[in-house]
Amino acid sequence: MRRPFLLTCITTLGVALLGCGAYAATPATSKADAEAARLATTVCSNCHGPGGDSVSPLFPKLAAQQQSYLAAQIRAFKNRSARGEPEAGQYMHGMAALVDDATIDALARYYARQKPPAGRGGDPALINKGRALYLQGSSDHRVVPCASCHGQDGVGNGPIPRLAGQHSAYVAHQLDVIQKQQRKAPVMYGIVHDLKPDEIRQVAAYVQSL
């Protein structure tokens, strides 16, 4: 009797769990929204964190990001167009291939309505310089104020992304790949192509603190 007991126990437990473990009920408005919530919780959250509030700076925060910006980016990954930086291929092309058009829009809705990520402080000197650049542009008028598009508080607007609370390492990396034109963002390229590495670090630290 003793021999198969443990095995039986484990199997029974497992089967019972699998049986009752259907997804917690979702007040889904539509099929696409339900699918988006399922993907976001079971797949995307493994990198982008719960509700898009990611832990590791390798992965951008998506929580409270602008809805139309999100949809445009997932499409850009999916058709492998604008986002040509190496990380896009290493991590996101495959993920975007999993979703159809309706789910892309639903994913964008899902992340846009999540709680905004909390800002995180850093080196005050860096942040102060970053604030000046962000709000006033560079003193030599080489760079226009970021706030003019991304907003005083960095929350973005429509196709212009939220930067507030974003990981500084991710922000700095995006500015770098936009400068190298690996990521094709013509409007942004025009604005940041002369941004110096120091300025990138400063402005990235500032937006993360918002």
Partner: protein, 461 residues
């Protein structure tokens, strides 16, 4: 002498089969997710936080491949031993100082549904050593892990609160997702047929591809992991899980009696680019002293281990640390009385003590730049009770003082020109071997005579 040498060679080849060409990165999964190796691996096979979630999710992330989900792996290496002659002048390790295809594997790996997935590895070992001491090709099953998973999503619909599943596998700790446990611990590959110390704990690879285990696990909130498994000899419906093992030769494999418990508890935390795990794992097994005599009384081995892992992963730096300590209690309830009565059980152990202990400690640190160039330094130590019955003197493989104590360091340098090709150099530097530094075997051999270098090209596709 030939007998001892035969046994030694037999043992080393068993160890090589058991732990070495083990499988490690599975490009079929990369094709399924559309992601790069580096999403899941710091450098294969070491897992990133996302790689751990991918595995615990039962390899179900991504879309099922329409074509057959296969992957290939091959290793071509060259090695040398500081003194590759025993006291009689016989060569110990065959085929040194020449490039050799050591092993090639075929994987069947992938998602079956959103709740099921897994992988099966079949390995061809080109340098298997037969009883006559010649290298011959040999193939058999390698690491295998099949899973069923389920998830409970939290009330605010943002994350998986409970991730749980079942695993069927053939190597204790193979199912684990932290690289501090033995099956996927460092060194990730070994020189073929290298001279191995007299013993290792049961959980440290000794049962690989000989057993079948079914376990249930839960990962709560990505912070607490709990698993309970039961292992038994892979016979009957599970016999495919040990295909290729030498089960008919006395001493060829370990044969377990009944179902044996394995447990795992881990606390995991991630913040910024850091992740930390502190855990414990272990198992208790009952083993027939001779695998061809599954009707005798059994010996009992209890392994209790603690382990820790820290990872710091950014672009371009990755720094990781793994450590484990395994404590094994050996209760020779069957072998000791039989040995005392002058009639050891078949090819089973002939211990001098009713009970022994064995402790293994391993520590490794790794740094990678851009996941392309890396270096690892590892330290290992095994100590245990003196037991001349278990560890008798004998050229190369024996012990003069009857102790298993072995200690050394392994530096390794890696270069990955492309993510699925790894060039590596390894060196095994022994300070102590089977109980001593000089004349450890009673035939004048020093521990450092076993120092081994290994140059290897490891390809996965």
């Amino acid at each position: 002498m030939a007998g001892i040498r035969g046994r030694l060679v037999g043992f080393t080849c068993l160890l090589w089969l058991a732990v070495s060409p083990a499988a490690r990165a599975v490009p079929a999964f990369a094709r399924q997710t559309g992601q790069a190796c580096m999403a899941c691996h710091v450098s294969f096979p070491e897992l990133t936080p996302y790689g751990r979630m991918f595995k615990l999710n039962g390899y179900t992330i991504g879309s099922r491949l329409r074509s057959l989900p296969v992957a290939l792996m091959a290793q071509v290496g060259d090695m040398g031993v500081r003194k590759n002659r025993d006291d009689q002048g016989n060569q110990i390790v065959p085929k040194t100082h020449s490039a050799q295809l050591s092993a090639a594997s075929l994987f069947l790996a992938g998602k079956i549904s959103d709740n099921a997935g897994g992988w099966i590895q079949w390995t061809y070992n080109n340098l298997n050593v037969n009883n006559a001491g010649q290298t011959v090709g040999h193939s058999g099953i390698d690491n295998t892990d099949l899973r069923l998973v389920g998830r409970v999503i939290d009330a605010d619909n943002t994350t998986v609160r409970w991730l749980y599943g079942l695993t069927l596998n053939n190597n204790p700790t193979l199912q684990d997702v932290w690289n501090s446990t033995p099956a996927f611990g460092f060194p990730f590959t070994l020189p073929p047929n290298m001279i191995s110390p007299a013993t290792a704990t049961m959980i440290d690879g000794s049962l690989a591809q000989q057993v079948a285990g079914i376990g249930g696990y839960m990962f709560w909130n990505r912070s607490l992991y709990f698993e309970l498994s039961g292992y038994r000899t892979a016979d009957g419906v599970f016999s495919w899980l040990r295909a290729g093992q030498d089960i008919h030769t006395p001493g060829g494999v370990h044969r377990l009696a009944g179902t044996n418990p394995y447990w795992r508890l881990a606390w995991n935390r991630e913040w910024g680019p850091h992740s930390l795990m502190l855990g414990t794992y272990g198992m208790r097994v009952r083993i027939y002293p001779d695998n061809t005599m599954p009707f005798t009384p059994t010996d009992k081995y209890t392994d209790i281990a603690v382990d820790a892992q820290y990872q710091y992963i950014t672009d371009p730096h990755a720094f990781t640390l793994q450590a484990t300590r395994i404590h094994e209690r050996q209760d020779y309830a069957a072998s000791f009385p039989a040995t005392l009565a002058g009639a050891p059980i078949g090819a089973g152990p002939a211990p001098s003590n009713p009970r022994d202990t064995l402790n293994t400690t391993k520590l490794k640190v790794t740094y990678y730049f851009q996941r392309r160039v890396g270096a690892t330094l590892a330290w290992f130590s095994t100590t245990g009770s003196a037991d001349p019955g278990l560890y008798p003197p004998g050229s190369v493989g024996g012990s003069l003082n009857g102790r298993p104590d072995t200690r050394g360091v392994i530096p390794e340098i890696d270069y990955l020109p492309i993510p699925n090709l790894r060039l590596m150099v390894q060196y095994y530097d022994y300070q102590k071997f089977n109980g001593g530094s000089t004349n450890y075997d009673g035939a004048g051999r020093s521990a450092s005579d076993n120092n081994t270098w290994f140059l290897n090209l490891w390809f996965v596709y």
